[in-house]
Amino acid sequence: MLKNFEPNKIFLITSKAPKYILFAFIIIISIGLIEALIISPEDYIQSHSVRIMYVHVPSAWISLGTFSVIAILSFVILIFKNKSFILIAKSLAPSGLVFNIIALVTGSIWGKPTWGTWWAWDARITSMLILALFYIIYILAWRIYDGTEKVDKVTSLIAILGAINIPIIKYSVDWWSTLHQPASINIFVKTSIHSSMIVPLALMTAAFALFSILIFLMKYNTELIKIKNKGLDRL
């Protein structure tokens, strides 16, 4: 099964898919923005500032999800010495970092009218900042060790080490008393968000996920062509 992820086999898909994904992203984000900024109602406590949720929450979800995938792939790379996953893990990092930064900045902007401060060193926010640092270290490690034999091992270990932070982020609001509110959406229990707010949130999440896939595919193609360029030198 792992052989299906070999670059030679999936390049045909990764090179053609971006234009269709970009098209779908533009359509979904346009509808999502109208829903999030105009149609969805204001909150009875937070008023219009609740609209920041539509960019803050999907960004946080995608940055967490992306790092989790990188960590799982890194585990497979370390244990099974699977070379096909290296390129996938490397290509996921840039979009993950940008979504993490968006989550931190929009969270900070949301914090000012809600908590009266731009920043608080509480468990959720600090653990998200640590995740951003892991993304930066992971990307820097690729730059520093690229072309050397130990690059796979070093980057995989960083990702696995960073994965320890994922459950801390998720449960920080339950384990500690934080300024950050607990999760409002849970797939196992009834959500506390009204359906009129779920629709724009779902649309924006779908749009952000598509954008993340688009960036991943473009980065993957760039890395693959870079490798093939080196191959041409050896001919």
Partner: protein
């Protein structure tokens, strides 16, 4: 109506700046990755054009190279 959407009861500055930051980040990331991709494609084309005809044939026989060539400028020359 438009004024209400812009001001959002005084929260407009926070809401619009959060959305603007997100969209600017998207455009910046897309532009950087696109530039990197185009640069690598141009580098590939230049290297490919310097190859001898038999080496080009070897390259064309490989699946991934074929795919890159199909999406690159050199295929249109």
């Amino acid at each position: 109506m438009i004024n209400d959407i812009i001001s959002m009861n005084g929260y407009g500055i926070y809401v619009w700046s959060a959305f603007a930051f997100t969209l600017i980040s998207f455009v910046a990331l897309y532009t950087v990755i696109k530039i990197q991709l185009v640069k690598e494609k141009i580098k590939f084309d230049k290297k490919y054009l310097t190859l001898t005809s038999d080496k080009r044939q070897t390259v064309r026989a490989q699946k991934t190279y074929k795919g890159i060539l199909a999406s690159n400028l050199v295929s249109k020359i």
